[in-house]
């Protein structure tokens, strides 16, 4: 979908996919050191996120690569070390597993290991999450892993505006940024400011709804469902405050603490497996900072510890749904 100017001149309505495209486009126009490499990017990328880039920037800055994930990641790093600023497009997050040495042992550690000499200014884009029955090898969410990995920034937007503004920040960042595009939300629409896309700073949550009864902390592709649940909850008299973290490292601990101080109830909702997910860190940190005595409930809602099944009948069963969010929130408020 091409972006179209709406009545209000200051904003445009567009898709999340297009928002990302516009952000990358703007940055590649601004800075000739920025380039993109990955499979099929010269044809616009698997998702069309780079449509028209080849025509504008040529094959040296829009590099369609072989199916060589280790080298896509590692070459991106090498190119950063000589002063370019690569956008490393990984197509689908699961394939990053083919490039983990380059990401975990090299990109994340190289600045530290070399005492600050290296600046791996790369953005690694890794569209992730459950998506139209793609089964276990094309649907994983492992964003919590990278919060545990020193040396990287972890970004997981859920809205048109955040996709654009956070991608601009990611491309301008001198730190390596792991950018989890929410692939199920590519076609989701929303508005963003027209004209120059301003960078959105990392580590600031967005309050999607203010409320007094409980704090729901969430991020990435599940956010629209949480918003929906918020409306349903309001109808049954539960006034939820909803925070979209937007970045998981750094994360907006202050905003979460402030909200939980007010509501005394915390529910973390994420699409990933609950066990060992980032929800655990949030709960542990909130308990640590506020003390158990100052909290009534601290719960998580995530997927059960299962690979993602293919069949709609099974996928729906294990997905976090709006109903489950509503139920968990109600239980938290009763508890």
């Amino acid at each position: 979908m091409t972006s179209k100017i709406t009545a209000k001149p200051a904003t445009i309505e567009t898709t999340l996919n297009e928002a990302g495209r516009l952000a990358a486009l703007q940055e590649m126009r601004r800075d000739p050191r920025v380039w993109v490499l990955g499979e099929d990017v010269a044809r616009g990328g698997l998702w069309g996120q780079y449509k028209g880039f080849l025509e504008e920037f040529g094959p040296e800055r829009v590099v369609s690569t072989p199916i060589s994930e280790s080298t896509i990641m590692g070459a991106g790093l090498g190119a950063a070390l000589v002063g370019t600023r690569p956008i490393i497009e990984m197509r689908i997050f699961d394939f990053v597993m083919c490039a983990m040495d380059e990401l975990v042992n090299q990109i994340a550690k190289i600045r530290y290991m070399f005492g600050g000499q290296a600046r791996p200014a790369v953005v690694v884009r890794m569209p992730h999450g459950m998506w139209r029955n793609s089964a276990a090898q094309h649907s994983q969410m492992l964003e919590s892993w990278f919060v545990h990995l020193p040396g990287v920034i972890v970004v997981a937007p859920s809205s048109v505006e955040d996709e654009a503004g956070l991608l601009v920040s990611a491309i301008r960042s001198d730190d390596p940024v792991l950018f989890f595009d929410p692939k199920d939300l590519w076609p989701a629409t929303g508005t963003m400011t027209a004209g120059e896309i301003a960078p959105i700073p990392f580590g600031r949550a967005r309050t999607l709804r203010e409320g007094r009864d409980l704090t729901i902390v969430t991020w990435s592709a599940i956010v629209p469902k949480v918003i929906e649940a918020g409306v349903t909850l309001a109808q049954s008299g539960v006034d939820a405050e909803i925070l979209d973290l937007r970045t998981l490292w750094p994360w907006d601990e202050a905003a979460v603490l402030a909200s939980v101080r007010k509501t005394k109830r915390l529910l973390v909702v994420h699409e990933a497996v609950e066990v060992g997910g980032f929800g655990a860190e949030i709960v542990a940190r909130v308990i640590d900072q506020l003390g158990p005595a100052n909290i009534l409930v601290a719960k998580r809602l995530g997927a059960p510890r299962l690979p993602i099944p293919f069949s709609p009948a099974l996928e729906n069963q294990i997905r976090v749904t709006t109903d489950k969010i509503v139920a968990a929130a109600k239980a938290a408020v009763m508890g």
């Binding site: 139209r132 089964a135 094309h138 510890r305 069949s311 099974l314 294990i318």
Partner: protein
């Protein structure tokens, strides 16, 4: 539910004569023909069902490439193992998997090969030695190599066959797996199904050097490069290579040049391809080519065989559509024995 006509596993494969394809006995030619038209009919029905919205998720079909699956697998016994890739329906059918359970799996229904957990990209039938499709390019290479190593350790006579595309030759596992197989002298046949494209990119635009056979040779794996749309050539070359492998000669590679009629997935129109190339590719249909050979040898039943395949697949498709969804609770089965969770 219609019963699936599985090709009989050819226990002791009859060696094919590479030069004189006329030397093939008529039954074998019919076998090859039937396998190819069944694959074609399966893929066409699947494509149609996907368009109709009955098959969820991505679907990769192998229309135009049937000669490779058929020509290789006719040489295998049930005990032999294969690994496949994301475009694996043909491999599974040729190895003897049931089209009925495959359709159920594609539809995500109860009774499918994976109970609805896998779908198109993860079809497996261990009972006929089909160790699974794979959603990761090159994913099947180390698995096939390890299977061959395990079979050797167990003193089995079975061998392993590893199907992968041209795109897979640019990932690290290609080097590691071939070196490994040659090193331990493993009974494995690598089959590179070279349709010239990898997703939306022409493979030659992302591949340096003289090609897959040179890469394999540099890793100690000899083999044959053939026209993959000539199923008799595939059959003959496979027979030769397997004879060497079964004699303890170590791994071999078969490079089969072929053509994919459709786009990468069922939703990809592949509009970027040169229409002339597409036309030429389709004109070089492996099924039509074998049909010509069979007609020359007096076969009269080809239309009937093709019609039977179409009917068979239509009935599997209908059965799948009518089949129940898997019980939701089965989502919790088969994760692991110890440490499994049960909640939702």
């Amino acid at each position: 539910m219609a019963k699936s006509a599985r090709p009989k596993p050819t226990g002791k494969p009859e060696p094919a004569t590479p030069a004189a394809t006329g030397g093939h006995n008529l039954a074998r030619l019919h076998d090859l023909y039937r396998t190819m038209v069944r694959i074609r009919a399966f893929e066409e029905a699947a494509l149609d069902a996907h368009k109709a919205g009955d098959i969820p998720g991505p679907l990769h079909v192998s229309i135009g490439q049937e000669g490779v699956a058929a020509g290789v697998c006719v040489n295998l016994s049930r005990e032999d193992r294969i690994t496949s890739n994301h475009r694996g329906h043909g491999h599974a059918l040729a190895k003897g998997a049931g089209a009925d359970r495959m359709f159920l799996e594609l539809f995500g229904r109860e009774g499918g090969y994976c109970g609805g957990k896998g779908g198109s990209m993860h079809i497996a039938d261990f009972s006929v030695g089909m160790l699974g499709a794979n959603g990761v390019v090159s994913g099947g290479i180390p698995i096939a190599v390890g299977a061959a190593q395990g079979l050797k350790l167990l003193r089995s006579k079975a061998i392993a066959v590893c199907f992968f595309g041209d795109g897979a030759t640019n990932r690290g596992p290609f080097l590691e797996g071939l070196n490994w197989a040659a090193l331990y002298n493993l009974p494995v046949l690598f089959v590179c199904e070279d349709n010239g494209v990898a997703a939306f990119t022409a493979t030659q635009t992302v591949t340096a050097g003289p090609g897959v056979m040179a890469r394999a040779a540099s890793l100690g794996v000899p083999g044959l490069s053939i026209d993959g749309n000539d199923v008799l050539a595939v059959d003959a070359a496979t027979a030769d290579l397997l004879a060497a492998i079964r004699a303890g000669g170590g791994p071999r590679i078969l490079h089969a040049k072929t053509y994919r009629w459709t786009g990468h997935t069922s939703t990809d129109a592949a509009a970027w391809r040169d229409p002339q190339d597409v036309a030429a590719g389709k004109a070089n249909c492996p099924i039509a080519r074998l049909a010509a050979v069979l007609a020359e040898r007096g076969a009269k039943d080809l239309t009937a065989i093709a019609a039977a395949a179409t009917t068979e697949m239509a009935s599997h498709r209908a059965a799948a559509k009518a089949a129940p969804w898997p019980q939701p609770s089965t989502a919790f089965d088969d994760v692991q024995d110890v440490g499994a969770v049960r909640f939702s």
